[in-house]
């Protein structure tokens, strides 16, 4: 018998009152059970020193500038008053997992009795979503590590502990860090986050496919023209069907796509935002040229096809499977190749030069303290420990990323000699610029990625796509 109609019994006033009483009692029990513990640890965010505006970073990094031992943080400077267990939420997973575990272990060894209680998120958005909920609930973790682009948004909402007073207290000077990397954790002149690792972009290419195409793998593409010519030579079709792409052009509305566009935008002399950070600048002639080059790679040069290899992951990723000649990429790919395609014969070189020379964006993963942290003293102690040059070296050697401090970068030959990491290091010190810094970035980025995809899939012309994204961006930037 399906969906049999029923008559509902009536509820007497007395039983309703009894039920209500039980309900209220249950709520009271729940409420009592979640009463917040722990006194708030004392940190005194005094007036912070003023730095340059965070909105429009343009300064090139000067790694060789001044590594001084005087600038090193003294992690044990503050007296700890909070819990000995530090809750730590991070997206330091995958290629960073072993390095993060090592950092926690070192910290616990150096601070007997203290414990890092870690919760990991593979997806940076999940980390962000859970943190937002925790912040609003007034119960965030003590330390968080996530992509830099969330920092300005949190800072703009006054949700992070300013780190300048703590840095001063620990004698940690700004010049401990590569300037362009430090900027990624700053907003309106204050430092809210410090970088645990940095990534630039580089040109990955398959040595075997280069050789098979009659190219010299010792001389990878140096300019966009070389890159296009090499990609054409490495493109293989059988019976009209593409079986090997000369170069990968991302087609998802994803970070891969916007990263490639941004790298080419910089190489064309453009910038993401205007100098004051208040309007979009990516739709100027440089932006159009960058995106047109990407579109042409697919539709005119035909070095790949729509859908080729898209959505495949792990060992089936075309580059890992000897089916892609070259691609723009970031350091975590080194870890993935070692995991999924250890026999792949590949090499890495700095990105080919565009019309205005070479350029790469630099991004960082940051560590920061939410304002509601109940354990701010020890949270800072952990961050300061992670910023010591030996720990920076150890973390980034283990995870194949770039350390964020000149002294760390120069103290170990790994960064300057390892054949896979060296191109990223050279790009960092030679011609890197920070990714855009604005609270509206995540929102703007989503729209930009949709429009970039529309252009790459030939569903929109380049100018319309960029102007549409810029119009939306300007609207959002005006509200910051």
């Amino acid at each position: 018998m399906l969906l049999e109609p029923r008559t509902s019994p009536q509820i007497s006033r007395r039983s309703l009152l009894a039920g209500t009483a039980v309900a209220l009692a249950s709520v009271a029990v729940v409420a009592c059970g979640s009463a917040s513990p722990a006194p708030v640890a004392t940190t005194a965010p005094a007036a912070a020193p003023t730095k340059g505006a965070g909105a429009a970073p343009t300064a090139a990094p000067t790694v060789a500038a001044k590594p001084t031992t005087a600038a090193q943080p003294t992690a044990a400077a503050s007296t700890s008053t909070g819990s000995l267990t530090i809750s730590f939420w991070s997206s330091l997973m995958g290629s960073k997992e072993a390095a993060r575990a090592g950092l926690a272990k070192d910290f616990e060894a150096a601070n007997p009795g203290m414990k890092i209680q870690h919760e990991g998120f593979f997806d940076i958005m999940q980390n962000n979503e859970k943190l937002l909920t925790a912040m609003v609930a007034g119960n965030p973790p003590d330390v968080v590590s996530n992509h830099y682009y969330f920092v300005s948004n949190y800072a703009n909402a006054n949700a992070l502990v300013p780190l300048d007073p703590l840095m001063a207290q620990s004698k940690m000077a700004d010049d401990l860090f590569v300037p362009s990397i430090l900027q990624l954790g700053q907003w309106k002149g204050k430092t809210y986050a410090l970088p645990i690792y940095a990534d630039t972009m580089a040109y990955f290419y398959n040595v075997d496919l280069y050789t098979k195409a009659g190219l010299d793998p010792e001389k990878p593409a140096a300019t966009w023209n070389d890159m296009i010519a090499d990609a054409k030579k490495m493109t293989v079709r059988q019976g009209g069907k593409l079986v090997q792409e000369g170069m990968s052009v991302p087609q998802d509305a994803s970070e891969d796509l916007s990263n490639m566009f941004y790298a080419m935008l910089l190489a064309g002399g453009g910038s993401f935002l205007s100098g004051d950070g208040k309007t979009a600048a990516f739709n100027d002639a440089s932006g159009q040229q960058a995106l047109q080059t990407m579109v042409d790679l697919v539709h005119t040069d035909k070095v790949t096809d729509i859908g080729f290899g898209q959505g495949l992951s792990g060992a089936a990723t075309p580059f890992y499977d000897n089916k892609t000649g070259s691609r723009y990429d970031i350091p975590p790919t080194i870890f993935n190749i070692s995991k999924y395609a250890p026999k792949l014969n590949y090499a890495i070189s700095p990105l080919p030069a565009g019309p205005k020379g070479q350029a790469t964006p630099v991004l960082a993963f940051e560590m920061f303290i939410p304002k509601g942290s109940k354990n701010q003293d020890n949270a800072w102690k952990f961050i300061a420990f992670a910023m010591t040059p030996p720990e920076q070296v150890k973390f980034n050697k283990t995870s194949n990323h770039l350390a964020c401090e000149p002294e760390a970068l120069q103290s170990d030959p790994f960064f300057t000699t390892n054949k896979y990491v060296k191109p990223f290091y050279e790009s960092l010190i030679g011609f890197s610029k920070p990714f855009p810094i604005t609270p509206a970035y995540a929102d703007v980025l989503a729209t930009l990625q949709q429009q970039l995809q529309a252009a790459v899939l030939a569903k929109s012309d380049v100018k319309t796509a960029l102007d549409t994204a810029a119009s939306y961006a300007n609207d959002q930037l005006s509200k910051v």
């Binding site: 399906l2 249950s26 937002l132 949190y154 949700a159 929102d443």
Partner: protein, 312 residues
């Protein structure tokens, strides 16, 4: 009124009258309420309150980290002029139009086929139901591979008959049909189980009588089976319409709303607006619009299809 229903109704009436005087029944009712209360409290705290709060947020500018600011109807005015919202609404309707009939027709066919006495019927029923209990994430990833233009099973199968398949998930034309096909495959088993239960509730003597009267199998299906499946069909239709307006997982994993917003559905748009752009107020306004759409759709369903439903 059928006899069974009449007796039930009169029993109910007796019970109601008796409860006012009979201490045992009153005590049972109190006990029942006590058992229900914890679930009721959780439902109120975690469902009713958030829903009511979402209605409030729809009239505010709320960016999560700063307190909500009352802005009246601004979100709704902006929504009316937001092309992506209307694209999402159109895509959701497209999805529902493709998914609901697809799942219902194929689910009914599967149920009819597996209602007979065929060898290994339990294994077949299990096989059809496995996708229902499979995580949408896992199912979506499997279909990502199936749809891959180079190494995917689907294009390989098409190539055997001389057809060159498209880049399914990178085509603004084919991405939504691809999502619909996956969803139909995923939920077919659920529809099938409901229909199977309904089919097994149809008295055999009706078919015997039809057979004696010379009715063909086709006649029996259209004159007996389908009419008696009406309550189940109505239930499945309403549930499927509601769930189709809430599609999210498949879109999130397979297409991220792309290419070029061609698979951006309302719930996906609400997610992006709320959690990526952090415009919770605007996201709440879109949620209210979604609520209104589902509410109206359900009312129309009840009006058009539910009025003369007879429960057997």
């Amino acid at each position: 009124m059928p006899a069974a229903e009449a007796s039930l109704t009169s029993e109910g009436a007796v019970a109601r009258k008796g409860s006012r005087r009979h201490p045992v029944l009153a005590d049972q009712r109190r006990t029942g309420l006590l058992f229900v209360t914890p679930a009721l409290v959780l439902f109120v705290v975690f469902s009713v309150v958030p829903v009511v709060y979402a209605f409030y947020l729809a009239f505010t500018d709320y960016r999560v980290l700063t307190p909500p600011r009352w802005i009246g109807l601004e979100n709704f005015v902006a929504m009316a002029h937001d092309p992506v919202f209307w694209v999402a609404m159109r895509n959701t309707t497209y999805y529902a139009i493709g998914y609901v009939p697809g799942a219902m027709v194929l689910g009914l066919i599967a149920a009819v086929l597996l209602n007979g006495r065929i060898r290994g019927v339990t294994a077949y029923r299990t096989a059809f139901y496995i996708p229902v209990v499979t995580s949408i994430i896992v199912a979506s990833i499997i279909w990502l591979w199936i749809y891959n233009p180079q190494v995917g099973l689907l294009n390989w199968a098409l190539s055997l008959i001389g057809v060159q398949g498209p880049a399914w998930l990178y085509s603004t034309t084919w991405a939504m049909p691809a999502v619909i096909i996956m969803s139909v495959w995923k939920n077919l088993g659920y529809v099938m189980i409901i229909y199977l239960a309904a089919l097994q509730g149809i008295p055999a003597h009706l078919y015997e009588a039809a057979s004696v009267d010379g009715a063909s199998g086709k006649d029996s299906f259209f004159k007996i089976t389908l009419p008696l499946l009406k309550p189940a069909t109505f239930f499945i239709f309403v549930i499927s319409c509601i769930s189709s307006f809430q599609v999210f997982g498949a879109v999130y994993v397979m297409t991220k709303g792309g290419p070029v917003n061609s698979t951006t559905t309302l719930v996906y748009e609400i997610y992006i607006i709320s959690f990526q752009a952090l415009k919770m107020g605007y996201g709440a306004a879109e949620s209210v619009a979604l609520f209104a759409a589902i509410f109206i759709l359900s009312m129309v369903n009840f009006r058009l299809l539910g009025q003369d439903t007879e429960y057997i």
